[in-house]
């Protein structure tokens, strides 16, 4: 019984993990149809923000929940202004450019901080379920993922900004004709997507440690989740994360973490063969 609860909890945590990893990317992709190849390095930047600010005596929760999103968000806006905005309409070029950015960031951070893992203490400690020890931090991750999705949903559904964002997502030309400055919408989207990515990176930092090359470990999972989900930000991310998270976590329980990743990829390939536009390209078409 206890074991079942632990396994179920791990499954939910895996899904929450994928939601956190992919949300920022999904927002940018859903809006601009651009996959940000530097996504992993944006996560890394969020992690480093936590390491540096806690090193200067800032409370770790403030560093995670406030500082990391702000820093990475501002960085995202800078990147959009300097690089991405020159490449609208040239999707492949924007992929290449963001990949270049990714390597530039890995190299740059390595030059500044060195190529070593900096650990971040996991807050809150553990608790026991029957005979098993479970870190309390897992619940933080799950709660953060739920809160994040709810927040994105509420903003898109109930605010003026959300309305403008949805309009631009659906039909950029028409929105432009109605007087919406789509370029500014894109800039804001990129900034917000980056901020969410920074937030995710900060939350992951205690679990993985922080190192310049850490992004590589997450991008496969995040990219696959986003493209399997399709263009709808919330439904897509949630459905893909649930499906892929449970498959890979199940596989991890059976054989170990390496094959978990391989299973994730295989499942995604088969799924894309059946639903080339992602899950929300066929099912839940009208959803957010």
């Amino acid at each position: 019984m206890d074991y079942t609860i632990v396994v179920a909890l791990e499954m939910v945590r895996a899904v929450a993990w994928l939601v956190l990893l992919a949300s920022g990317l999904a927002i940018i992709f859903g809006m601009m149809r651009i996959i940000n190849f530097a996504h992993g390095e944006f996560l890394m930047l969020g992690g480093y923000t936590v390491v540096i600010s806690t090193g200067h005596g800032v409370n770790e929760w403030i560093a995670m929940l406030v500082l990391a999103p702000i820093v990475v968000g501002i960085f995202g806006v800078l990147v959009e202004r300097l690089v991405i905005q020159r490449l609208y309409g040239r999707i492949l070029d924007s992929l290449l450019a963001t990949w270049g950015l990714s390597m530039l960031m890995i190299g740059g951070v390595t030059m500044i901080f060195g190529n070593s893992v900096t650990g971040v203490a996991t807050p809150l400690g553990g608790m026991s379920i029957g005979a098993y020890q479970v870190p309390r931090y897992n619940f933080v991750l799950i709660f953060a993922a739920i809160a994040l999705l709810l927040a994105i949903w509420a903003v898109l559904k109930f605010t003026k900004a959300g309305l403008i964002a949805r309009a631009t997502m659906q039909n950029p030309d028409m929105s432009e004709a109605l007087g919406i400055p789509t370029r500014w919408v894109y800039m804001a989207t990129f900034g917000i997507g980056s901020a969410i990515t920074g937030f995710a990176g900060a939350l992951l930092a205690p679990l993985t440690g922080v190192v310049p090359t850490m992004g590589v470990n997450f991008i496969a999972q995040s990219f696959i989740t986003v493209i399997t989900g399709g263009a709808s930000v919330i439904t897509g991310t949630l459905s893909a994360a649930t499906l892929l998270g449970s498959i890979s976590q199940g596989m991890t329980f059976l054989t170990g973490p390496v094959y978990g990743d391989a299973a994730l990829l295989l499942a995604a390939l088969v799924l894309l063969r059946l639903l080339p536009q992602g899950i929300t390209g066929r099912i839940f078409k009208k959803s957010l």
Partner: protein
């Protein structure tokens, strides 16, 4: 590209340069330089594989290193087990080709768009890299070859004369053989591109919908182009393995895929010489920068990639070509002759 290969003077010039380098370099240059150049030759083959599928099939693969690594590992495992290098070299072409066909089937018959394609190829290479990195234990071995995980596979046999495993090639001969490989692949690709099949794949690159409406099976063509590119990358991988006598997971890394992209971008998409020139130029640059400790080579590669996308999206060879052509037209104009094809009827 429109005229037959045999009537293009540029083709003969390239082959002549290749043959000249192949036979003169080992006589003129010292051993160390020869071994350095061999490296460029191997990587040029790798660059050609991406240059072909991207420039002449419109398939942008972000994970070309997956095939490079697959070829390298296939060659390493097979040659260690067989003690000979002839059949492994063939296998290093066949297995990546089959893998490319299988992956291509999923991607192209699923009609994935460009963005999805880039992501899927990248992720395949990444997963491959992760899997190989985790094969360090002795339980991961194929026959007598241990995969070695992040430690790589050491003591891969040197290339030898087919049928006689004791007749190893010395570095000079190896250079000539590899140069031969490069030339053969270049010539074969030129003819393939000029053939009916090549023309159809170019038309698919230009306009997929129109090609399919004209009755061509776009998906099948793309799978074949992708598989051929995979096979060539596999051969490059095998050459890399036997040249270094060692292979490790870095050959499958994202950096390797990125390098191939940068070479093709720098040299020019839509040419075959471009990727080779880009490869040689940028590898040489990396080598020079490697001697400077302060600058991180990955950062430089990334910066070059961004600058290329923003400032020189066409690449060196097409830019130079259009400059030369522009100069030629100007020269004609100044000498009072009409430009061909622009004669106005009275």
């Amino acid at each position: 590209m429109e005229k037959p290969v045999t009537r293009d003077p540029g083709f003969y010039v390239m082959v002549a340069i290749g043959l000249a380098v192949m036979f003169i370099a080992p006589v003129m240059l010292d051993l160390f330089t020869i071994m350095q150049i061999t490296q460029y030759v191997v990587l040029s083959v790798f660059a050609l594989s991406l240059g072909y599928i991207w420039g002449f099939g419109g398939i942008l693969s972000f994970g070309q290193a997956a095939f490079f690594g697959l070829g390298a590992y296939t060659f390493a495992v097979a040659s260690i087990n067989m003690g000979s290098t002839t059949i492994p070299m063939v296998l290093a072409f066949v297995i990546p080709t089959l893998f490319g066909a299988a992956l291509g089937y999923f991607m192209f018959y699923g009609r994935l768009s460009d963005v999805y394609l880039g992501v899927v190829t990248l992720v395949v290479a990444l997963i491959f890299w992760k899997l190989i990195n985790h094969t360090a234990g002795p339980e991961y071995s194929i026959g007598s070859a241990r995969l070695g995980g992040f430690n790589g596979i050491p003591s891969i046999p040197t290339l030898h004369v087919p049928g006689d495993p004791s007749a190893w090639l010395d570095p000079g001969q190896m250079f000539q053989v590899f140069m031969g490989f490069l030339l053969v692949i270049y010539v074969a690709l030129r003819f393939l591109i000029a053939s009916d099949f090549g023309r159809v794949s170019i038309s698919i690159r230009e306009n997929e919908t129109r090609s399919s409406l004209l009755g061509y099976d776009v998906r099948k063509h793309k799978v074949i182009v992708f598989a051929i590119g995979g096979g060539i990358a596999g051969i490059a991988g095998a050459m890399w393995a036997t040249y270094q006598a060692f292979i490790d997971p870095n050959s499958v890394s994202m950096e390797m895929s990125a390098k191939a992209l940068v070479w093709v971008m720098a040299g020019g998409v839509g040419t075959l010489v471009g990727p080779i020139i880009g490869c040689i130029l940028l590898q040489w640059l990396t080598l020079q920068l490697g001697t400077v400790d302060v600058v991180n080579s990955i950062a430089v590669l990334g910066a070059i990639m961004m600058v290329l996308v923003l400032a020189l999206p066409k690449g060196i060879v097409p830019t130079a070509r259009s400059l030369l052509l522009g100069g030629y037209i100007l020269w004609k104009r100044n000498h009072g002759q009409a430009i061909p094809g622009k004669v106005v009827k009275e």
